[in-house]
Symmetry: C2
Subunit: 111 residues, 2 copies
DNA sequence: GCAACTGTAATCTATCAGTTGACAGTGTAA
DNA sequence: TTACACTGTCAACTGATAGATTACAGTTGC
């Protein structure tokens, strides 16, 4: 466990272990919690008040967890919306850092 | 102009002091850092490669910090995009918890 | 006055979250 | 085998909105 920094692609290492690795999409956690609860995805989508297609897209990591959906998930799992939005923020930050060209932007010093 | 959905406290109260208070929009922090650096907003908008109107909307808290803009701000201030997106996530979470009706969604047990 | 910056507002475009409807594959029980 | 329920995807559509552009009024300083 101590040196899991060296591993890259195994399944269940928490994302923080390797800063170079893509942080997990919140959909992965949702899928885990769902499996834990033994509910079908279809039934849960209906509970959340969203379409099963939309829910599936989030679970698959193809659509983000929006504030609206975070509020619904927060109610469903008994925690607030904060966890889901922060997970999504970390996910977005990782991708934005790699996809946005900021080479023309200078870095100013805080004095 | 007075009452947006939730008023932003202009100056001196740190947002964390009262958990019931709206967390500060990242635009407030940007404005502070800008003032600290002594740069005009117009010049900074040009540095970031965005329109000054768009930049002004973010500073005023009327537009969110998107992943793209977070990457630009991260470069400008020398930190990554993560800080800005997490601030935005906390801001969104606070509002989502108050604006989304989740009364019809049940809370499922974890085990 | 004139110039530069600021704060808003209107309009337009492009992107995208989310819906509905459809279709194929996979169990699984009758 | 048939039938049913769930899953994974796709296409088309709608609504909302990030962002650019243009424009105009109010600063502040030369």
């Amino acid at each position: 466990m101590a040196d899991d920094k060296t591993r890259r692609n195994t399944v269940d290492i928490p994302a923080k272990a390797d800063p170079n690795r893509c942080p997990s999409h919140p959909g992965e956690l949702i899928a885990d919690l769902l499996e834990d609860a033994g509910k079908s995805k279809m039934a849960v989508a209906e509970m959340l008040g969203i379409s099963r297609q939309q829910f599936h897209s989030v679970l698959a990591g193809r659509k983000p967890v929006t504030p609206d959906m975070a509020a619904r998930l927060g109610k469903l799992f008994g925690n607030g919306p904060g966890l889901w939005l922060r997970m999504q923020a970390n996910f977005d930050a990782w991708h934005a850092a790699r996809e946005v060209d900021v080479s023309a932007i200078p870095t100013i010093k805080a004095a």
